[in-house]
């Protein structure tokens, strides 16, 4: 069975190459334009990994993780952010998010994201 990826980014051409790259590497990808849509999806479905941007229109990435975690525990997150000021909050750490789960935008190459998504320990689970 294919591994499922949820990608949440409001930039279409951020989403598309990631989706294509992951699909080329054998993942099934569900892209979302907003955190709200992704949350709706998570109510009925799940994924092996969620790549989430922090700055989003409407609900932020942080709120999304908080809410998603309350719907479905043990999800694995990769935080893909353009802000270098980003710090892992205590709350994020409490659900298992470590430095390995954070990729700074732009990633030097897409395999960085893939590595982070396939990184086994932590990140929930």
């Amino acid at each position: 069975m294919l591994k499922r990826l949820i990608i949440i980014d409001d930039e279409e051409y951020i989403r598309i190459p990631i989706q294509d790259f992951f699909e080329d590497n054998g993942w099934q990808v569900n892209p979302f334009n907003s955190a709200e849509e992704a949350l709706e999806y998570l109510k009925t479905d799940t994924a092996e990994c969620i790549i989430v941007d922090m700055r989003l229109p409407g609900m932020t990435g942080l709120e999304f993780i908080d809410k998603a975690n309350s719907i479905r525990r043990g999800l694995k997150y990769v935080i893909y952010t353009g802000s270098v000021d980003f710090n892992i909050t205590e709350n994020l750490r409490s659900i298992g998010i470590t430095e390995e789960c954070v990729v700074h935008k732009p990633a030097e190459n897409l395999s960085e994201l893939l590595n982070a998504a396939e990184f086994k320990p932590g990140c929930g689970g």
């Binding site: 051409y13 190459p17 294509d20 790259f21 699909e23 080329d24 353009g82 270098v84 700074h104 732009p106």
Partner: protein
């Protein structure tokens, strides 16, 4: 012989003379009947049978003189006669001898002679009577007569002797009368009876003109005549004699101020006339007026003088003082007079020896002296005085008073004090100001310079500076042209100069001098000297440049923080899409193969096409450019967050070691050099642990090492010759770190901009151009230290970092 029973008939027309004779005779015991004319004498002699002797003045007013009178009387009765005359001419004596006279006396010969004559006359008369009445006794009488004759002869002899002296005495008296330096006149019924020559001279008249004239003629007018008369006679009646001042007239019209006295000849008989004296007091009056005026002037001067003045008696007690003294003293002069004694003033104790000398009559000046009015119970507080004491003398030369003139110099003193303080202040500023101050003559000769100025130019004193500069300030300018330009500006136009010029120290070293000069002119507008301020602004200029750089960097930092996030998203799009495009054209992905087949070709053909048309290279370039832009943004963000890092107490040497470690492992960062081919010499000093942000300093050191390595490899010098010396030392509360390479060095323009953001010395594309500006920011802003560069083309480059041991504002 008893005279009391004897009665004498005195025939004398002059009252004064008569009075004299009467008193003389009465004193001798005679009783006297006085008549003033021959007619009266004849009548009296007839009526008064008790008359024993006739004393007759030969010269009489009226029809008959004394001799004639005696003749008439003697015809009727026998009486002894004694004649008095003021004339002793032979004719008179002869006439007197014709009658049976018994004596002849010259007037004013004195009572002794007169009495002797009278007594003689009695005796002769009695003897004669005896001869006549007692014939038998004629012999005796003759003898007596003889004796009397002898006595008479002796008397006559005596008379002759004294006559001469009498004549002399009278002329003496007369000359005395005339010689008196006061005008004298005998006055009867306000007419001159007799005047002395002084009076004549005084009023310019001949004696004959005055005698017999009314006294009116000497007065200036009727009014004055009446007034003087009233006063003189009125006073004489009341008090015995009168005195008044009157204005009389000289014959030629000049007015004379006169003091006139009047004394009656006979107080009991004022009709007998009076003796008047007249003194010319014109000069006296004038002198008196002058004296009075002079006194008034003195008083006015003293009162109006702004200098306090005191008049003291010889014991030091205040006799008088002026308004100015009163003011200075805040005292009532009248209350102080007679009470204040200058020698007993405790506050003047210090002046006592001088004051005592002054009271011996020595004129002297007092030195400046302090007087505390508060202490003396006066108002006004501090008082500084100086003054002069001098004696007041009478005409005789006796010192009567001491005058002291005081000058209140309190204001001057306080002004002097203020000036002294101000000068001291100026001197203090002059000596202690850190800016150089100088004064030069118009010719450029050195007049004065302050210690700071000496220090700036490296001189130890003014003399040395003068000698060294050959007495011309032209020598302190690095450029003669510049000096000439400044000099021209000073001497014409603005007469001032303000700017930064290149100056020269005594050791020849040049520096940037901030110069501020002006030409000082005198009140006549002519140039006097040049004064100015000079400061070594070399450091300040550097600091200013750094400040400008630092500001630029802060601006960039602020900008970066805002921009970074927005740029990262598009960069992500560029990079990821380019990357994926490559993946989808070149990778043997099942999707790629399937899509190629569906398009009626093979993936291999597509790969070949892409490579043949260099589409792969375009996309790789796009991805790499995106990566580089992302790195710039990342560095900018680090730069903006630099100061927020955590500080720990660490040893700088170990941080450098870590940086060296990183550099040697970081070979893949740049492909065109190998850091391990550089020889690193470590000269580490013993360092204390200092507060610092480890990763930041690591970044700085790594940056410097990489810059050096890059520069050295780019210069094309053979590997193995590259050396970096790393030196650390702890000195004066700070840690000094030097990185010195033997690379190509840099020119002044590069050196100047080396810390500027986006400035890069390397090949375009070799670096971000932010490394050194970030380093600068970390060292200066983050750690309160400094970073400078020393470099010359071909001489290598040395970066010097200084970090404080105590972090400021930690």
């Amino acid at each position: 012989m008893k005279n009391s029973s004897r009665r004498i008939l005195l025939i004398e027309d002059e009252d004064i003379t008569a009075k004299v004779y009467i008193s003389m005779l009465e004193r001798e015991g005679f009783s006297v009947v006085r008549v003033s004319s021959g007619e009266d004498a004849v009548r009296t002699a007839e009526l008064d049978k008790s008359i024993d002797l006739i004393l007759a003045d030969i010269t009489l007013e009226g029809d008959i003189d004394g001799v004639d009178t005696a003749e008439v009387i003697l015809k009727k009765r026998e009486l002894p006669v004694v004649f008095i005359s003021e004339h002793t001419g032979a004719d008179v004596i002869e006439k007197a001898e014709k009658i049976n006279s018994y004596g002849f006396v010259v007037k004013n010969t004195g009572d002794a002679l007169l009495m002797a004559s009278i007594r003689m006359a009695f005796r002769l008369y009695e003897a004669n009577m005896n001869v006549i009445s007692q014939n038998q006794e004629i012999e005796a009488a003759n003898e007596e007569m003889q004796a009397a004759m002898e006595e008479m002869e002796a008397i006559n002899q005596e008379l002759t002797d004294t006559q001469q002296s009498l004549i002399n005495s009278e002329s003496e008296l007369k000359s005395l009368f005339n010689a008196l330096l006061v005008g004298v006149g005998m006055i009867v019924d306000r007419k001159f009876l007799k005047v002395n020559s002084y009076l004549c001279n005084l009023l310019g008249y001949e004696e004959s003109e005055l005698v017999g004239s009314p006294t009116r003629i000497i007065y200036i007018d009727d009014e004055e005549y009446e007034r003087a008369g009233r006063e003189l006679y009125g006073m004489m009646l009341r008090e015995g004699n009168g005195i008044t001042k009157a204005r009389v007239r000289h014959k030629d019209g000049d007015i004379v101020d006169a003091l006139i006295t009047l004394t009656p000849v006979d107080p009991d008989n004022l009709s007998a006339g009076a003796c008047a004296t007249l003194n010319d007091i014109t000069e006296l009056n004038r002198a008196e007026i002058a004296l009075r005026e002079s006194e008034m002037k003195f008083k006015a001067v003293m009162e109006q003088s702004t200098l306090p003045m005191l008049i003291l008696d010889m014991q030091g007690t205040l006799v008088d003082a002026n308004e100015a003294w009163m003011k200075m003293w805040s005292a009532d002069v009248n209350a102080a007079i007679g009470k204040y004694n200058i020698l007993e003033d405790p506050q003047l104790e210090g002046l006592k020896p001088l004051l005592q000398r002054a009271f011996t009559g020595e004129p002297l000046d007092f030195p400046e002296y302090y007087y505390d009015r508060d202490l003396a119970g006066r108002e006004g507080g501090d008082l500084w005085i100086t003054g002069r004491a001098y004696p007041l003398k009478e005409g005789s030369g006796r010192i009567t008073n001491i005058v002291i003139i005081i000058e209140d110099i309190t204001k001057r003193k306080s002004a002097e004090e203020a000036l002294r303080i101000s000068e001291e202040k100026f001197r203090n500023i002059f000596n202690n100001m850190t800016v150089g101050y100088f004064r030069t003559g118009i010719d450029g000769s050195l007049i004065d310079i302050n210690p700071a100025c000496l220090k700036i130019f490296g001189f130890s004193n003014l003399e040395e500076a003068r000698n060294s500069l050959n007495n011309s300030t032209a020598g302190v300018y690095a450029s003669r042209t510049e000096w000439q330009m400044i000099r021209e500006r000073m001497m014409s136009g603005t007469n001032s100069f303000s700017g930064i010029v290149n100056l020269k120290r005594s050791d020849g070293m040049e520096f940037r001098g901030g110069l501020n000069m002006r030409l000082v002119t005198g009140s006549d507008g002519r140039p006097q000297f040049i004064e100015g301020l000079v400061d070594d602004v070399t450091e300040r200029e550097k600091t200013q440049e750094m400040l400008i750089q630092s500001e630029k960097m802060i601006t960039v930092a602020g900008l970066a923080a805002g921009m970074a996030h927005e740029i990262n998203n598009p960069l992500g799009i560029i990079m990821q899409n380019a990357e994926n495009a490559l993946h989808r054209m070149l990778d043997d992905l099942p999707g790629n193969i399937a899509a190629a087949e569906a398009a009626g070709t093979e993936l291999q053909n597509i790969k070949e096409y892409v490579r043949a048309r260099r589409v792969d290279q375009y996309l790789t370039a796009v991805r790499d450019a995106g990566a580089r832009a992302a790195k710039i943004v990342a560095n900018m963000l680090k730069f903006s967050r630099g100061t927020e890092s955590k500080f720990d107490f660490l040893n700088i040497n170990s941080i450098i070691d870590k940086a060296l470690d990183l550099a040697s492992n970081d070979y893949d960062l740049r492909k065109n050099y190998d850091f391990r081919n550089i020889r690193i010499n470590k000269y580490y000093g013993e360092l204390p642990e200092i507060p610092c942000a480890e990763t930041q300093l690591e970044q700085v050191f790594l940056n410097l090492l990489k810059n050096s390595a890059e520069a050295m490899f780019e210069s094309g010098a053979a590997a193995g010759e590259h050396v970096i010396n790393v030196t650390t030392e702890h000195r004066n509360g700070s840690i000094k770190i030097e990185f010195k390479d033997n690379g190509p060095g840099m020119d002044a323009a590069t050196k100047k901009r080396v810390f500027e953001p986006f400035f890069t010395a390397g090949k375009v594309g070799g670096g971000t151009g932010l490394g050194l500006s970030v380093s600068y920011h970390i060292i200066v802003t983050g750690h309160g230290g400094s970073i400078t560069v020393e470099s010359e083309p071909g001489e290598g480059t040395k970066f010097i970092i200084s970090l404080p041991v105590e972090k400021r504002g930690f």
